[in-house]
Amino acid sequence: MVNVVKLLSGNEALALGAYHAGAGIATAYPGTPSTEILEFIARFDDVYAEWSTNEKVAMEVALGAAYAGTRSLVSMKHVGLNVASDPFMAAATTGVNNGMVVVSADDPGIHSSQNEQDNRHYAKLAKVPMLEPSDSQEAYELMAYAFDISERFHTPVLVRTTTRISHSKSVVKVNRSRVVPVSQAGFQRDVEKYVMLPVCARLRRPLIEERLVKLAAYAETFPLNQVEWGELHLGVVTSGVAYQYAREVFPEASFLKLTMTYPLPRNLIRHFAAQVDRVIVIEELDPFLQENIQAMGIKVTGKEFIPRVGELNVGIIGEASGTAGLVAETLPQHKLDIALTLPKRPPLLCPGCPHTGIFFVLSSMGQRSKPPKAKGKAPKEPKLIITGDIGCYTLGAYPPLNAMDTCACMGASIGQALGMEKAGISDKVVAVIGDSTFLHSGITPLVNAVYNEGQITVIILDNRTTAMTGHQDHPGTGISAQGKETKAVELEHLVRGMGISDVNVVDAFNIEGIRTVVKNSLDSPELSVIIVRGACSVQVTKPSEPRAVDTEKCNGCGICLLLGCPAIQSEDEQVYIDTALCAGSACTICQQVCPRQAVVPKSKIKAAKSQ
């Protein structure tokens, strides 16, 4: 692999960098934009890679490995670090024996997340070093430094990337091969270091401050912090992908590109600032660098004109800098004469999705939608409250299903449902959660609901995969991250073991079955769990006969359109099914909901026509 040039995504480069740096263990829970890091490193046979049940567990497994003689990598999306923050703070306190690198992939612009947060603050909170790549080449290179820093300073190292870095491909010169540090797996007992009784934690506390001072000195000479001298009237301090944008906006300026962004190289920054007439900071999200530099007494601006919200780009920085008088103001290039209002195209549940049927049932029971042709009264207020969770099924919130009322964070649906019930609302509360999300963080709130005598209905949508992030396995599938067959956790045994007796498993493609089970659960005065089971249609490869609409029977009522299935189309008031998209006999949900039996297997229409 030495000396080849490749086009790699930031995530692939981080994984390859960690592999070459000798990582022996990699853990993660899938989450956009971080997922591909583990997927990529899992391909190497000489690394143990696992999908952990959640980020907290992933962090703890990585920490255990780093205590016991192996370099470990743990990766997650930004909100994953919220889940893992407890062991992260613990790791920062105990320190490590072998290198431990924590990758946080932030999502400025909220491309695929529930919030926007700047995880650089975690480095300051935990008092650990942080590195940030500005392209795939740096992502590859910085991993070797990250592991070395971790071992040299006995600390976990935070590598912070963003969607744009993780999901952009750029050219990487691969110039190393795998080097595994010569250390045997083994744990050296050290109570003062590893057992955080208050008496021991108090001993660790000053060491953290000492470590930070040493790290700040190291930052001064860190080779990936780079000064690029240009004209001296403007100096730009920047990091991450913002560096790439700023290079285009200020082609003549001097640059201080920081790759180690915590702790900061104070002398380097002071020296740089002293050489230029004016210093600005260009950074995405919060004024993290800016405030830290201001605290050194250096006059610097940035967030006075650069937005704090959302993802940056060349256009945004250019316009903001124009307003601030830093560059000539750019006039809009094109005058828009024709501004069309275009129909939106939000993501949808796929044709044959096992979530469509249950949401259709909940939607119709809750009276949340009405057929396009139906005249008269608007839909009544929903009679059900549906708390939701994180996954493909969150798309059930969109019209025409309209079948979700909350979505906060992983596992929140169950606790929220109980809270609403305990608040005393008169409507029945249903929590909807996917199988992977349930295993991630739905188990403890369900135990809580058992203990505190909740009467909610919890619906587990079991499609046997982590679909939204690209079909990763999880404890319920019984397949490991490296494709090995392992033990599968049976959801029904798990929930029965908690003491819940009203547990039903129902086929995701049987509308009547779902309706009956949901109705019984809603009528029941006790806590109930419904497992709606059906394979994700993207993973179904079995050939299947598409459905078609018998136009003689169809009266255009539009009930099938309420499924929101992308295969069901309409042209000139006539509904038809796109054969290329239809999941066919594996699904048949539209056939089941049609009140006039106008949806039939395609061959029946052909046969009728040929007669």
Binding site: L7, H111, K169, R345
Partner: protein, 198 residues
């Protein structure tokens, strides 16, 4: 060395990302600096997808600035129109004329733009617009997944990369069983685009 900024747009599931990967890898093989990035929302299928591919001597930002796209390759015509404002004046637009109406249109809540509106809208920026029904033309391959290679073939005529570089890049990214049909779709696109009157 000239620079080329390409925007590849379409609907999730049409193969936009694979197509843009292949363009990037072909350009790298031809000695260019390359950056490419995709913007896609959550979930797997059905949403609006756009890929930025930047080719040049030295590329900084992975995202193309609005108003600087040289070539738009749209796998669906509504998705061409959605990104028209990214084109520079004088840009080229290659547009699959087959419509995939979004759900809001199917439900009758929103209106799909007419062909004239689409042409007028893109014509505000593009000098040359090639409408070509890639969906119908690739039907003979019996696999909807050949559309992206057909569109790639169309785009290839406007980039200074040799045919064998394209074919090598395609071959490296598709399975051996699918290679022949994908190359055939690429060749067809390359041939048919020459016949499109603008």
């Amino acid at each position: 060395m000239k620079k080329f900024d390409l925007l590849i747009t379409g609907v999730g599931g049409q193969g936009v990302i694979l197509a843009s990967d292949i363009i990037g890898e072909a350009a790298l093989a031809a000695g260019y600096d390359v950056k490419k990035t995709d913007t896609l929302g959550m979930a797997q299928r059905g949403g609006s997808v756009v890929s930025h591919v930047r080719i040049g001597q030295r590329v900084w930002s992975p995202l193309i600035k609005e108003g600087e796209v040289d070539i738009l390759v749209a796998f669906e015509k509504l998705e061409a129109t959605r990104w028209g404002h990214y084109l520079r004046s004088g840009a080229i637009a290659i547009v699959n004329s087959h419509a995939l109406p979004p759900l809001s249109v199917v439900l009758g809540n929103e209106r799909y733009p007419t062909d004239e509106e689409i042409a007028d809208s893109l014509g505000q920026w593009a000098d040359r617009i090639y409408f070509i029904d890639g969906t119908s033309r690739t039907r003979k391959f019996g696999d909807v997944r050949t559309l992206n290679m057909f569109m790639l073939g169309c785009a290839s005529l406007f980039l200074p990369l040799k045919v064998h570089v394209w074919k090598d890049s395609i071959s490296q990214r598709v399975s051996s069983t699918m290679r022949q049909i994908n190359i055939a779709a690429f060749n067809l696109g390359r041939k048919e685009i020459r016949g499109v009157r603008i």
